[in-house]
Amino acid sequence: MIVMEHVTKSYAKDKPPALKDVNVDIEAGEFVFCVGHSGSGKSTLIKLLTREILPTDGTIVVAGQDLSQMKNWKVPYLRRNIGCVFQDFKLLPNKTTYENVAFALEVIGRSRHVIRTQVPEVLRLVGLEDKGPSYPDELSGGEQQRVSIARAFVNRPPLLLADEPTGNLDPNTSLGIMSLLSRINKTGTTVLMATHDREMVDSMRRRVIALENGKVIRDQDRGVYGYGD
């Protein structure tokens, strides 16, 4: 599903690169944690996969397509196959919760009928069934994060990227979201999740890719959070 070969990303010439010679190979159907200190390059890795940014060096292949070679006009179609939970949510401020989630379906041309059935269902799954008519700035931080999650998988994409999707959630709600992600993963969706939640990583025992200063320092099946112990 995802193949990264010798990927390096420098944001500026005079600064050390955010990612250095990263090699990662993720099969379809896997569930992978990406851990690392603040600023170690987790978000950069995820942005590379959605082609929000291009690598300085190396090749990235997602769902069989080489992202560096990809034509600009094809990018939207790539993104429709990737659900993405952003670290800063990226909700449209002048759309309600319902409209934000429905938007991901409108964009790919789903019929109104499909939208009317799927959106309420996914809102129920993340526990926001009664926040449909609220605008983002009327939601708590954790609620906004859940809207972002709902939008990411409302169209059942084959690949789900989640950048600290539980950062603003209390442990209980986090657990709910994690079990949801597990269930999604069991239906065949590949999941890559950047996180700081040590408890979560340690209890789930899934594959863990650890970054430090932009380098992969550990890639371990059934791993733990590590660091600082």
Partner: protein
């Protein structure tokens, strides 16, 4: 990809309502620009008409010698009447000429009374369709075989053939200057409108740049992102044009009558046809400005 076309209309409408501050700004901008264009076009039309009415009064006078042979006059008069460039040919007898002279010198009528006999010649007054043809017509008249027989000074025909060449030249110069000035002003205003509108839509895009970035990340195609902006621009253009047309119609109802009351000696009229034409022009302008403004702003700020 069966995207319902209704989506974009809905989207444009919703964004219109939610960002009404900016929409209103754009509409006001377009409205005023078109209003100014409309005012200038109307002013232009009025000036055209006034000038035309002055130009109409330009004519060629052929003075006839006392005791000319009427059989010499007839062929000339006929050939002039048949000339397509000529509007009308009028014969003025010696008596009529003296009558006119009396009217002109009404200040000191005693002069006319003191005249022992009528010294004024009879004449032909030739009115042209287009005053610009005057020189050509004059040449043709001089070339007419009967011309020399009709006039008092065959050796110096200029004396008996008057067409106020200088006044006509001055008038043409003035007309042309006025035309150039009006055209330059209208062009300037259209340019200003374009800048204003493209600027407004650019700012609208600027204010929504985060939204646009998010749309892209969620997988919206370029046209999907652009469409609502285009529709919004066109909608704003249309509304602005509608307002401008409304004001123009009101102006026609109230301002034109007032003007022709105040300036009874100038022909100030604006036909219903011209008004309708102007309305169509303004509507087209509004749509074009909205569309071009949007496209321009989109090209610069939505490069993908």
């Amino acid at each position: 990809m069966a995207i319902s076309p209704g989506y974009f209309l809905k989207e444009a409408g919703v964004s219109f309502r939610r960002n009404w501050v900016m929409s209103l700004g754009a509409i006001i901008t377009i409205f005023f620009s078109l209003l100014l264009v409309g005012t200038f076009v109307i002013t232009g039309i009025l000036i055209q008409e006034i000038l035309a009415s002055v130009e109409e009064k330009v004519m060629i006078q052929v003075f006839l010698k006392d005791g000319y042979a009427p059989e010499d006059l007839d062929p000339l008069q006929t050939s002039l009447v048949e000339d397509a460039r000529i509007n009308s040919v009028e014969y003025v007898s010696k008596e009529q000429a003296l009558e006119r002279f009396k009217e002109q010198t009404a200040d000191s009528p005693e002069i006319v009374d003191q005249l022992p006999n009528n010294p004024l010649p009879a004449s032909l007054e030739v009115e042209l369709v287009d005053p610009e043809d005057v020189e050509a017509v004059v040449v043709d008249i001089k070339a007419h075989p009967n011309f020399v027989n009709l006039i008092a000074n065959p050796e110096d025909p200029e004396k008996d053939l008057k067409y106020g060449a200088e006044i006509i030249d001055k008038l043409f110069q003035l007309t042309n200057v006025v035309r150039v000035v009006v055209i330059v002003l209208v062009a300037m205003l259209v340019f200003v409108s374009m800048i204003f509108i493209s600027n407004t839509i650019r700012l609208a895009i600027y204010a929504r740049r985060k939204e646009i970035a998010i749309m892209r990340l969620v997988g919206a195609s370029n046209w999907f992102i652009r469409m609502p902006f285009l529709l919004e621009g066109v909608m704003q253009g249309l509304i602005g044009a509608a307002l401008a047309i409304g004001v123009v119609v009101v102006m026609r109802q109230w301002l034109v009558p007032w003007l022709s009351d105040t300036l009874p000696f100038l022909p100030v009229t604006l036909s219903a046809g011209a008004t309708a034409q102007l309305g169509l022009i303004l509507a087209a302008f509004g749509v074009a400005i909205g569309l071009i403004g949007s496209i321009f702003a989109l090209r610069r700020y939505l490069r993908v």
